[in-house]
Amino acid sequence: MGMTIAEKILASHSGVKEVTAGEIVNASVDLAFVHEMLGMPGGTAELFRKAGLRRVWDPSKIVALLDHWTPPSTIDVAEIHLTCRNFVKEHGIKNWYDMKEGICHQILSEKGHALPGELIVGSDSHTITSGAFGAFASGIGSTDMTIVFTTGKLWFKVPETIKLTIDGKIPPYIMGKDIILHILGEMGAEGANYKSIEFYGEAIRQTSIDSRMTMTNMCAEVGAKTAIIPPDQKTLDYLMERTNKALKPILASEDAQYTEQICLNIDRLEPQVAIPPSPCSATSISQVEGKPIDVAFIGSCTNGRLEDMMVTSRILKGRNVADSVRLIVIPASREVAVNSLKMGYLEPILEAGGIIEGSTCGPCMGGHMGVLASGETAISTANRNFIGRMGHQTSKIYLASPATVAASAVTGKITDPRKMVVN
């Protein structure tokens, strides 16, 4: 019987020819990555030490980095970073990226760690982002990570797969973020819980690698175990510049079994905004236009890439951020920052009054670099708008594309970017 991509990857990593949805397998992991969760209270370093474990299974298959609170905002954070560095040294972890590099999911792709057909686990729910390159990538907690660090293996229930087909021509000013917010709104907060999503359709083929990562990233918000875009020439071109490893894309069988098929057409899609407190509450911008904002945030593992900086820059060029708004822009990595600098994207942002920070997750999870006060409203390109996510419990977050957030920063209220003429 035919298999989906998720089934094929789990089968090949469990040493069997075939698996079916619902079956439990013990699979060998190709890559495990950790960020500050390694050194947190109750994190993998602490669990490893307390259990008297000595050696990691394979130091060449672990990626460790710092991104959530970089540079450290408190002594507690600085101690967590120190714990991480000590663990990395003690165990000879080969792929170590200290705080200068950027956000984990972006680094995994830039450094050629996210490869088609591979089984990747990470100590972060947005690990799913790497599915943009055809990997089975799934977020896990600290105990599961300790098991992987020790044995190189983890149990998985083989997920059912949803076939998601997005057709149509992407309209002007519409970004991957608008497409995925629309999809999440259609699916609901547990629309893909425990499941895999496979992306198909002419609209997906049109999207850039940057937009694809935005889309797989946010599949975490519908509970998906993994979300996979079958690799095409764009994927291979991107990866061939970044790895010497042989690329072996895995595609689904023609007779693969899907639990559900969802088809959407985006020919007439308008800019989408997710209203608080759910990422799955997308509405067309016309429903929320004019709502005043205090903070505009462009960045995070969802939308801190070169394409996002380009769009932000174009909208802000020759304009000013409204006096009532703090615009915070955080490129997702050093590479994105350097390329944005070379392309001239940063100057218009700074001239407009935007604040550009070094790469970090920062305000996305209310860590630092721009948290919200009581009653404040933010419009953000990040992935979550849960209660208190970016700061005080009474603050509110609207999620949108970089184009919408940049346009809103200029006017001080939620604004349709299609109304901003770009020179």
Partner: protein, 165 residues
């Protein structure tokens, strides 16, 4: 395996940011972090859960971030089990790994009242409501996860396995 306590009811889509907001994950003093569990959403949670013991959630309990601190802090503050209509997948794994029992049951949020006395039969997948006299069928946990709960969590099993190998 039996687990008993009184119900503390919650709604749908309780996310891990609400359980323990991101900004408190860095606190090394768990008593201090504990003061912020369900901050602004459930007042006085730490006292309520000490007398109740069992959280009764709706759909998609534990969605969002993979932070293991969410079930870790619930357990630390005295949660003995969580029952819900459904759980988000990472929260489900993290909880069992930490030895915090979970049961999925579609009837609980409509039939259980705050303060009802519950008895969870984990092995048979049954929730008995001693206050109302009803019993609800829950999804049975697979045998290997029940075994993990009996051992007290995944780390205890891992230690045992590494001693044996």
């Amino acid at each position: 395996m039996l687990q008993s306590g009184r119900a503390l009811r919650m709604g749908d889509n309780i996310d891990t940011d609400v359980i323990i907001p991101g900004r408190y994950l860095i606190l090394r003093d768990l008593d201090e972090a504990g003061k912020h569990v369900f901050e602004g959403v459930v007042s006085d949670f730490s006292n309520k859960i000490k007398s109740a013991g069992i959280i009764v959630g709706g759909k998609n309990f534990g969605c969002g971030s993979s932070r293991e601190a969410a079930p870790m802090m619930l357990k630390y503050l005295g949660t003995r089990a969580v029952v819900a209509e459904s759980f988000a997948r990472i929260f489900f794994r993290n909880s069992i790994n930490l030895g915090l029992p979970l049961l999925e049951c579609k009837d609980v949020s409509s039939k259980v009242e705050d303060g009802d006395e519950l008895e969870l039969d984990l092995g048979n997948g049954v929730i008995r409501n001693l206050t109302s006299g009803e019993a609800y069928k829950a999804t049975k946990l697979p045998a290997f996860l029940l075994e993990m709960l009996k051992e007290g969590g995944a780390m205890k099993m891992l230690k045992k396995q590494s001693r044996e190998s």
